[in-house]
């Protein structure tokens, strides 16, 4: 794992570690968008509409304040990655609360990160296929859900996760590397490879790379 340097970059970190919640709130607000994206992406579809992403973030913030001590001991983890971890745990708690025993049983032995990445394949293909828009494409989409699912499932789990982190959660390569506990270079290569695989799959989806006027093709 590479050494994060966030502490050096952010002078406020000292004050956060010292327990200054106001500064912490400020820092949290800066990361809020990306954390919101994470919640949105990872939230079980059964809970959408029942649970608000903002509420989860609120809960996570309170949680984070109480657990700053944990952050201190988790060094050299960068603040964002730590926050993401806290939000992830909150999210798991929320899922437990709402989905009950079914989920607890299945996931008891998993780390929060594992629990989160568990549904990546499903939510990702759902997201990708939602991109197809016209009614006829919608019909195509229904047909192709299985195909993309299959492709994503067939992907290496880390590849799949890399795509989700990079795009749906807007993490940088460095952060991805840190979250997954792999080398930066490896993360980058995985990213490129996953893109290429995904592209292969999407090429077979009629209308994905053509027919969308907002989609400049390679020769646009």
């Amino acid at each position: 794992m590479n050494t994060p340097t966030q502490q050096d970059e952010d002078p406020r970190l000292e004050r956060v570690l010292a327990g200054d919640t106001e500064v912490f709130a400020e820092v949290f607000a800066e990361h809020r968008d990306r954390l919101w994206r994470m919640v949105h992406f990872r939230l079980d579809r059964r809970l959408q509409g029942r649970v608000d992403a903002d509420d989860i973030l609120q809960e996570a913030f309170v949680d984070a304040v109480q657990r700053l001590e944990h952050f201190r001991t988790s060094q050299p983890m960068s603040l964002f990655v730590w926050l993401r971890l806290i939000v992830g745990q909150t999210l798991v708690d929320v899922h437990r609360r709402h989905l009950g025993a079914q989920m607890r049983d299945a996931n008891r032995e998993m780390s929060p990160q594992q629990q989160l990445s568990n549904g990546t394949s499903m939510s990702m293909s759902f997201h990708l296929l939602a991109h197809l828009t016209s009614p006829s494409q919608a019909a195509v989409r229904a047909e192709l859900t299985g195909l993309v699912d299959e492709a994503l499932t067939g992907m290496n789990e880390i590849d799949r996760e890399v795509l989700a982190l990079r795009h749906f959660e807007e993490l940088t390569n460095k952060e991805v590397a840190e979250v997954l506990g792999i080398d930066r270079k490896a993360a980058s290569i995985r990213y490129v490879r996953a893109l290429a695989r995904l592209k292969d799959v999407l090429t077979h989806v009629p209308g994905f790379f053509d027919g969308d006027e907002r989609q400049p093709g390679p020769d646009a």
């Binding site: 968008d33 994206r37 006829s136 490129v192 893109l195």
Partner: protein, 1053 residues
């Protein structure tokens, strides 16, 4: 992609920059990056569009968390002139705020659109245009649109603020409780009124649903979002919030068409939900809804809420008819009928009769689930049996219990209608007739009346209020349907008994048997088909014999005769695709004699058509490798009167021995035991049903083909020399064939002049041309520039253009392309042409398979094309590609085996193909892989056999038990295939030096072969008695599915 080149951070840098620009809302030019990073141009061109797709996907999704709009982190306080006061609602297409228009000091509703909804000029212009049109609408039930605006990249839509609630919220509050029907009708009338007004002004709404309908304190309904759905389509409307919108979307919109009637539909579905308290389509996922909307009819409202007045139900059902032509044709008409309903006067909409509804339902549900089908059939039986006096029987009671509750409404209706009719007519005669009508309707729907569907009015259709009976119909095909229909056959017999062996009913029964045969044939269940045909023929023969005494109707005999000829011809086709050429020949000959026994000038068009069919069948080449089953084993390629192209050789086939030596194909001697690729007659060309398995029923009843032959032999010619006559009679001479072909073409030419638009005739004519092209002596193997072939293709192409919805015509076209002499590749050009033809055929078949997943014949044909392609590639030394093609074929057959586990033919093909792959692997020296291939397929076959025989432990089965098991289920052919596979394995093991294992395998093979079908009398090929072909080729099976271009690599000993 060269991952090594990604090693430095350059790509990462470029991608990150690109990504963040996309996130800022730009649409960066990918080519710009290409020129900035020329080293990475390939990677950028390939991957950046995917990055863009990921980002756009994310944006879309973020906007619609849980089906509701959100602007993510953005908080809006002011939009231009509008000060945002509070959020009043979120819909799929945006967030609605109450705002104060500061310049005018009035409160308005501002709908903020998703930030990505209008990404380019086209969208923005359309949005503005639609808003302008919407602003022109002035109606008491349409929310007035004030205008549109843009601020900081956010587009918004300004409307009058209505103090009301959305119907969606109302429905949520009602929590499943229905709205009072009259209140709902009033709401509906207001909406219909407003829609009628808007439609008159040329504006469609496009997204009528409860969420877009507001109800205010005074009970006035307001339609909101006019012009919005259409402005954003096809981008936002459908993307977002699909679960909501899709539910109210008219089915035709999935095909891209929409008109005023689509709004009528959406209104109808909304009304449905109001009066029943539940959505018409309850699906929650997109795919589920998609299927429900396009394929199912909702439960009838009164079945949910009996308080709904019948007239209101009628109106709602008419509004939501899936076919726009069956709906109200305008919103005006809906408004008027709702008005009539509210006033208590009679409505205009006619109630769809139960029979009609059943009919429509049937048409839309070709792929019936077994349960539903059985339930309908049971209902019919109950109804019929009840009305003819069997109501006390226990059977009826048990039937009743099995009725599917889902069909309650339908069932009750059917019974009611039958009962009502009975009361009205009060005669057994009428009831019987009614039952017959119902039966024939079901048969018309579910059973094809010909293998090829034609847009001709079905002849025994008795009711005529549905004009679309003339539409070509695709038969619904599933084993369940066939079985269910078969279950109904006793009704015919019982009805006939009731009416003293009424010949009319028995005639219908004969037709029903015939149709069931057709279904089974299409399903590849040759034995069941054969049995059904035989039953039909038997009945017809009896009827015709009795006709003079029982029937005064003169047309009856003509009709029976035509039917008789048709069934015989169908039987002949069945036999042909089952490789029973002798039986095929016999059936055709019987048809021919039958028709020839009538005077030519009295023959109907139909009869002439059947005559042409018989001629064509007799003209067809018999594959030269065909072994006449009764002549025992022959010393060479047996069979054939198929003349070579260099001159008719049929005259040489007087003796079986000379046949053997004169039957080579056009390009050199046939290889030894390994057969030449079959001619176009091999089973794959007609759907690959493979060799048939004899059913149990055949044992009880002599096959009519044999009966026919016996009769002929018993005649005055019985004492003549049999062998030559047999040969000639069974395989015909070359001249005979040509004469038959010309006769067929002559008849068809004449017929098609009288009826130029009859597709049935044209198809047959095309087949004749195809046959003639294939018999032309100097033909090019690819059919290149062959006038007959071109004519044939042209005829069929024309039909596919005229009737694009008839799958069978396209299938015919695919077969035209696929029926190519792929083993006669002379040069590379020829090879390419053949490849092209096969590819064309494959393209058509792929479409067909996608559209008709229930037709195994299509999949099977697809697999055959791959096999042929494999042969072509093999010939052109593209080995790897060839093996790939074989694997494609195997994969396809695997799906067939899985879907039709009880059809032996599919498994047989699987075994044969695997053996072929193994052969090629051996030839490449991959003996290990080949061995594995063989062992795998042996394992799969054993498992299949065990499953069929319901044995649990496969591995424990020795050859004998296995054979016994297979025999008990009549799977003899597969046993022989398995035996052959063991022999091949033995040879392979010998080559590998594993002699012990080899002899084990060989003994299993022998054990299996000894139990081979007595019908074929095929002894196991003794493994070592002949020199010649390479060792691995000796034991391959006689009817080769393999289009193996072996001519170059093999020689005869």
């Amino acid at each position: 992609m060269d991952l090594a080149r990604i090693d430095d951070d350059t790509f990462e840098l470029a991608a990150s920059e690109f990504t963040s620009r996309v996130r800022r809302g730009e649409v960066p030019d990918i080519e710009e990056y290409v020129s900035r990073y020329p080293d990475l141009s390939d990677e950028i061109r390939e991957l950046f569009p995917t990055i863009l797709a990921m980002e756009q996907t994310k944006q879309h999704r973020e906007f619609e968390s849980g089906g509701k709009a959100s602007l993510g982190a953005r908080k809006i306080e002011q939009l231009g002139d509008f000060r945002i006061l509070r959020e009043v609602g979120r819909g799929g297409m945006g967030i609605v705020y109450e705002a104060e228009q500061e310049s005018l000091g009035r409160h308005v509703a501002v709908k903020v659109l998703p930030p990505f909804a209008l990404m380019d000029e086209t969208h923005i212009r359309r949005f503005q245009r639609e808003a302008q049109t919407a602003a022109q609408l002035h109606h008491t039930n349409i929310v007035p649109v004030f205008g549109v605006g843009e601020d900081d990249g956010l587009y918004y839509y300004v409307m009058q603020l209505i103090d009301g609630r959305g119907l969606d919220a109302m429905l949520v509050d009602a929590d499943g409780e229905a709205v009072d029907p009259w209140h709902a009708a009033d709401i509906g009338r207001q909406i219909a009124d407003a829609l009628a007004y808007a439609h008159e002004h040329g504006t469609l709404h496009g997204d009528i649903k409860p969420a877009n309908l507001l109800l205010d304190q005074n009970g006035t309904v307001w339609i909101t979002d006019f012009g919005l759905a259409r402005a954003l389509e096809p981008d936002a409307t459908v993307t977002e919030h699909f679960g909501g919108t899709l539910r109210y979307m008219a089915p035709e919109r999935f095909h891209g068409t929409t008109d005023a009637r689509s709004d009528v539909y959406s209104l109808g579905v909304t009304l449905y939900e109001l009066i029943t308290g539940q959505p018409a389509f309850p699906g929650t996922t997109r795919s589920e809804l998609l299927r429900q909307v396009t394929q199912t009819d909702p439960v009838r409202p009164r079945a949910i809420n009996s308080r709904i007045p019948r007239d209101l139900e009628t109106i709602v059902l008419k509004a939501i008819a899936r076919d726009p032509d069956h709906r109200y044709q305008s919103s005006q008409a809906v408004a008027e009928d709702l008005g009539r309903f509210l006033e208590g006067s009679p409505i205009r909409a006619r109630r769809v009769t139960s029979v009609e509804r059943f009919w429509r339902w049937c048409r839309r549900n070709p792929a019936l689930s077994a349960a539903i089908c059985t339930a309908v059939v049971s209902t019919m039986m109950v109804a019929v049996l009840t009305s003819v006096g069997y109501y006390k029987s226990r059977r009826v009671n048990s039937r009743l219990q099995t009725l599917n509750s889902n069909l309650n409404g339908l069932n009750t209706d059917l019974q009611n209608s039958l009962n009502r009719e009975q009361q009205e007519r009060e005669t057994a005669q009428a009831t019987t007739q009614l039952a017959l009508d119902a039966l024939s309707k079901i048969f018309n729907r579910f059973a094809p009346n010909a293998l090829y569907v034609t847009p001709v009015v079905i002849e025994d259709e008795t009711t005529s209020d549905e004009s679309d009976y003339t539409m070509p119909m695709q038969p619904a095909l599933s084993p369940e349907v066939a079985a269910a229909l078969e279950e109904m056959l006793p009704i015919y017999h019982r009805l006939a008994e009731q009416r003293g062996q009424d010949p009319t009913i028995r005639e219908q029964a004969a037709r029903a048997h015939h149709r069931i045969g057709l279904i089974y044939q299409q399903l590849g269940q040759s034995d069941a088909a054969r049995a059904a045909y035989s039953d039909s023929i038997e009945l017809l023969e009896k009827l015709r014999k009795e006709a003079p005494t029982t029937n005064v109707d003169e047309t009856a005999d003509t009709r029976l005769l035509t039917q008789h000829a048709t069934v015989l011809n169908d039987l002949s086709e069945l036999e042909r695709v089952s490789l029973e050429f002798r039986s095929a020949e016999q059936a055709s000959r019987r048809a021919l004699d039958l028709i020839k026994s009538t005077a030519e000038e009295t023959r109907s068009t139909d009869l002439q058509y059947e005559l042409a069919r018989a001629h064509l069948s007799l003209a067809k080449r018999t594959p030269f490798w065909h072994r006449p089953p009764n002549s025992g084993r022959r010393p060479g390629p047996p069979g054939g009167g198929r003349g070579g192209p260099n001159g008719p050789q049929g005259s040489g086939s007087r003796s079986p021995v000379s046949v053997a030596s004169s039957s080579e194909g056009p390009d050199g001697p046939a290889p030894g035991d390994f057969q030449r690729p079959p001619g176009p007659d091999f089973p794959g060309n007609r759907g690959g049903r493979g060799r048939s398995r004899r059913g149990d029923r055949d044992g009880e009843r002599p096959r009519d083909g044999e009966r026919g032959a016996d009769r002929e032999r018993g005649g005055d010619r019985g004492d003549r020399r049999r062998r030559p006559r047999l040969t000639e009679r069974f395989f015909g001479s070359w001249d005979d064939r040509r004469n038959h072909l010309e006769s067929a073409i002559g008849i068809l030419d004449e017929l098609s002049q009288q009826r130029p638009d009859n597709p049935q005739l044209l198809i047959l004519l095309a087949r004749c041309y195809r046959e003639r092209a294939l018999q032309r002596p100097d033909r090019d193997a690819s059919g290149f520039e062959d006038p007959d072939w071109e004519k044939a293709v042209e005829l069929v192409s024309q039909l596919t253009n005229d009737y694009p919805e008839v799958a069978d015509y396209r299938f015919e076209l695919a077969e035209m392309y696929g029926d190519v002499e792929f083993w006669r590749i002379n040069d590379e050009t020829c090879g390419r042409r053949i490849e092209k033809r096969l590819r064309t055929a494959l393209e058509i078949l792929e479409e067909l398979v996608a559209e008709n997943p229930s037709r195994p014949a299509f999949v099977s044909a697809q697999a055959q094309m791959y096999v042929k392609l494999a042969a072509v590639y093999r010939h052109c030394d593209r080995d790897q590609k060839s093996i790939d093609m074989l694997h494609e074929a195997i994969a396809l057959h695997q799906t067939l085996v899985e879907r039709f586990p009880n059809v032996e033919a599919h498994m047989i093909w699987q075994v044969r193909l695997a053996r072929l792959v193994a052969l090629w692997q051996m030839r490449e020296g991959n003996t290990g892989t080949a061995e594995q291939t063989l062992r795998d397929v042996i394992g799969a076959t054993r498992q299949w056999l065990a499953a069929i025989a319901k044995e649990d432990d496969v591995s424990a089965l020795d050859a004998q038990t296995l054979a016994g098991a297979a025999q008990s289920v009549n799977a003899r052919d597969i046993l022989r295939e398995l035996g052959d596979t063991y022999f091949l394995l033995a040879t392979l093991l010998d080559d590998e030096g594993k002699s012990v294992e080899a002899s084990q395998a060989r003994s299993v093979g022998n054990a299996l072969h000894r139990r081979s079908s007595p019908r074929f009398r095929m002894p196991p090929p003794p493994p070592d008695d002949r020199p010649g072909p390479p060792p691995w080729m000796r034991n391959t099976p006689p009817p080769p599915p393999m289009p193996e271009p072996l001519a170059s690599t093999t020689e005869r000993g």
